[in-house]
Amino acid sequence: MGAIITLSILGIVVLYLGLFKAKSALMPVSLLGLAGAAVFLALDWNKTALPLYEGMVIFDRFAIAFSILCIVITGLILLLSKDYFDRISQRVGEYFALILFSLVGAVLMTSFHNMTMLFIGVEIMSVALYVLAGIKKKDFGSNEAALKYFLMGAFSTGFLLFGIALLYGASGSFDLAEIRQYVIDNPGNVSNLFYVGILLMIVGMAFKVGAAPFHFWTPDVYDGAPILITIFMSTVVKAAAFAGFLRLFSYCFTPLADFWGPVLGVITIITLFVGNITAIVQHSFKRMLAYSSISHAGYMLLGIVVIGATSSGALLLYTVAYSLATVIAFGSLILVKRSTGSDDFESFNGLAKRNPRLALAITIAMLSLAGIPLTAGFVGKFMLFANVLADYQVLLVVLAVINAAMGIYYYFRVIVAMYFKPTEREAVAFPVNYQVVFLVAAVLILLVGVYPTLVSSLL
């Protein structure tokens, strides 16, 4: 609980710092606050988790692990933001504050124990993001992204709210423990309202995680928003949404898995194919990453389709791997775009000659996203596949594997461009803060890849 309070206060403090033009203090104060929040969370690690505040939130290990992941990734993003927001606007404080507010929502989504908190978490997270997506006021793409995100987000929240209402109608409670008890107490004669409610929840959550066929907002919003905000959306927001998704379904709905499992299975397959096939034909690196993030949502859904003992550990590991690699991928795009002005694959041509270290970091990220052994991405995929195969869903895994092979094609396009295509361009500027973030992320990817027990044993 200390974490939510810390982050909320931090957001307000940062807002005031912005008001008093204390620009240089923004970064240290934010990072310090984030570290404080992470420490608050970590302190609760070994305590017996009980629902707090009349069962509103619960900080069990699951919530703590995902929250710390969100906080760490936010920290990395803030580190990248040095000089980034200054180029867009005068009021840098707002960015920091909005990102922190959004993070509060994300933490709530990982730790909710009551449907109202889920809804409030989603809203806190999203409202801040609607503003962030459109923060380049004069930029047409950014405006489009914000409007699209807002309309789609509001639409999907509608589904979510409707679903919550129906679940309430059937079970008579917003509390997860009581909903769970309702399902257990009524085997075989759960109200039809409840089933419809589950379907609506799936739709609502699928919108939030960007799973097909509810993914149409993702590419345009990721493409239009400032890159740093895109990183935030595709890592922290996704991690939080998946954590919420898994918590809800594994805690409350597991006995009804025969009903929603196939639905989610179909969504997973569509998501994988739509994401991968569309990513293959992209010319822009940024759009490729946007579509590939859809396909990664498909892989992560594998952790929810079959809920087993290893689901949460596998999902956490995959989320860690995906988030770290995405930070490097989009972060490198910022640098390359600054130097070349374009976000096409061609901008990466010959990067290995000019910036070998940058190219190496990108290569590690791409290998991890593609799922090559000794990177975290491989272990994540491996554990998710093992999770699904434990339920004998061989077909689902075969389809996922076909998609993994497709993924190689477009991730290797970046590597091919960097290492094998010549160019005349000058070296890309590689500022110190980027070097630090990329080093941390790349080392973590390899470390988790070689010794995954570090993460997987947490849950």
Partner: protein
């Protein structure tokens, strides 16, 4: 000094050092020293090896305890010859590449690949095996795509996706088998003791078989191979054909047939037929080639087809033949690609029609070339004879017709190989071949070593056969083979 982990990690350490070295001369020296030390580190294993079927020098650590994954390595009579092959060939390949001006990163990739290969050949845990399998693939992709010839990007991407897809199929099978083990682990021993029903064994067989067949390659999974070999730099081709394709054959012996015996019983014959079709098909295509390198690439498919047929016949002679022939093929094919490199570097072409009469200018080259060719077509007193003889005896026991068609490798091989020799080395000289530059020291050294190995193994193959005999007998006997 018989610590297997050190043997495995030493090349990786060398690779790390080399990735910072920019000067060519220094990089060459470090790479060669590292490879030679690796070779030296192999000797204690050879000396300490007990000629029994037991797994030796085992090492095991928990890797991902939650999923029962261990880092588990060890050596037996089936792994050891391949470990020796890897550590013998890598220094030769490195030395052969001295004719080009490569920087440290090139050698770093070779050494990183060496670690992956050794991991594949020693892994006793399916997860460890899979990791090695992929770790060997990434460096060779970069070697071929960075320093390759025309179309290198397209060809190598095809190669990579092809093999990666195969390995993903294997990954599914591995995870599935893991789910079936009583103790939920990935160890080879638990995979061997599984008793799955037949339909399951059938699909698991295909999942493994396709992965291994792509690597070897067996017809019709070979389409990536000629292009990749042709486009790759010489060292890359040597690594691919000399060592990497043995991963597939080794995988079939270790991870395919004993794990799914009933699947093998159902499809083993089909696998033999495919292998032998590959033998004849590749031999005929090799005969039509005018490009020296493509010819050797296709001849490699033919030879590997015979080895694969021997493995799938699965009796003691044929598997023993496969073991020794894997070693021989590695040595011979590296020799052939080296000669090809020597000739085409000097003449600037790979077209055999523009060669001829080189024997006059380079007698040593001519002699070594002749010996290596005799080795690869299996003449008595050369290494190929022992292997192909054992393979054919084993296949003959399985069926006369298989042996007859399989034996075509020797006849067809003799035809296209000797024709190649004639076109390249004999006949009248032309302007370019008359001015043939003498061999450099590194080329001479590698040639002499390889020629020596060809004759040595041909005359005295017994020590090599002894290493694998006990392990092969036991493994074959386990499935009720002869």
């Amino acid at each position: 000094m018989d610590n297997l982990l050190i043997l495995l990690l030493f090349p990786l350490a060398g690779a790390l050092v080399l990735s910072f070295v920019k000067q060519t001369a220094l990089a060459q020296r470090i790479a060669l020293i590292s490879a030679v030390i690796s070779l030296g580190l192999t000797i204690p294993f050879l000396l300490g090896f007990q000629q029994t079927a037991a797994m030796q020098f085992e090492q095991q650590w928990a890797w991902i305890p939650a999923m029962g994954i261990d880092f588990h390595i060890g050596l037996d009579g089936i792994s050891l010859p391949l470990v020796i092959l890897t550590n013998v060939l890598v220094p030769l390949i490195i030395m052969a590449s001295f004719s080009d001006q490569y920087k440290g990163n090139f050698y770093a990739l070779i050494l990183a690949m060496q670690t992956g290969l050794l991991l594949v050949f020693t892994a006793l845990d399916a997860f460890t095996f899979y990791v090695g399998w992929e770790v060997a693939l990434i460096p060779i992709y970069f070697i071929c795509a960075l320093w390759g010839g025309e179309n290198r990007i397209r060809v190598n991407l095809k190669f990579f996706i092809y093999t990666f897809f195969g390995s993903l199929l294997m990954l599914i099978a591995i995870i599935y088998l893991y789910g079936q083990t009583p103790g939920k682990d990935f160890s080879l021993a638990s995979f061997y003791s599984l008793s799955l029903d037949e339909p399951t064994q059938r699909w698991v067989f295909w999942a493994f078989f396709i992965a291994f067949a792509i690597k070897m390659p067996i017809f019709p999974f070979h389409t990536w191979q000629p292009d990749t070999y042709t486009v790759a730099p010489t060292a890359g081709t040597m690594l691919l054909s000399g060592i990497m394709l043995k991963m597939g054959i080794y995988g079939a012996i270790r991870w395919l047939i004993p794990v799914v015996p009933e699947g093998f019983a159902a499809y083993g014959q089909l696998a033999i037929v495919l292998s032998i079709i590959g033998v004849i098909y590749a031999s005929i295509i090799a005969f039509k080639q005018s490009d020296f390198k493509r010819l050797v690439a296709y001849s490699s498919i033919a030879h590997v087809g015979l080895i694969a047929a021997g493995v799938f016949v699965w009796n003691v002679q044929s598997v023993q033949g496969a073991m020794i022939q894997m070693f021989n093929h590695g040595v011979n094919v590296v020799g052939l690609f080296l000669i090809l490199d020597i000739v085409s570097r000097r003449l600037g072409t790979r077209e055999m029609s523009q060669m001829g009469g080189i024997a006059k200018a380079a007698p040593l080259l001519a002699i070594c070339f002749m010996v290596i060719i005799m080795g690869s077509i299996g003449l008595p007193m050369t290494n190929g004879f022992v292997g192909e003889f054992l393979l054919l005896i084993g296949i003959y026991e399985y069926g006369l017709w298989y042996a007859l068609f399989g034996g075509m490798t020797i006849i067809l091989g003799a035809v296209y190989m000797l024709r190649m020799y004639q076109k390249v080395m004999l006949g009248p000289t032309n302007e370019q071949t008359a001015a043939f530059q003498p061999l450099q020291w590194n080329e001479t050294a590698v040639l002499v070593v390889i020629t020596g190995l060809v004759i040595l193994i041909g005359v005295y193959p017994q020590p090599l056969l002894n290493i694998s005999e006990a392990a092969v007998t036991e493994l074959v006997g386990k499935l009720g083979g002869i």
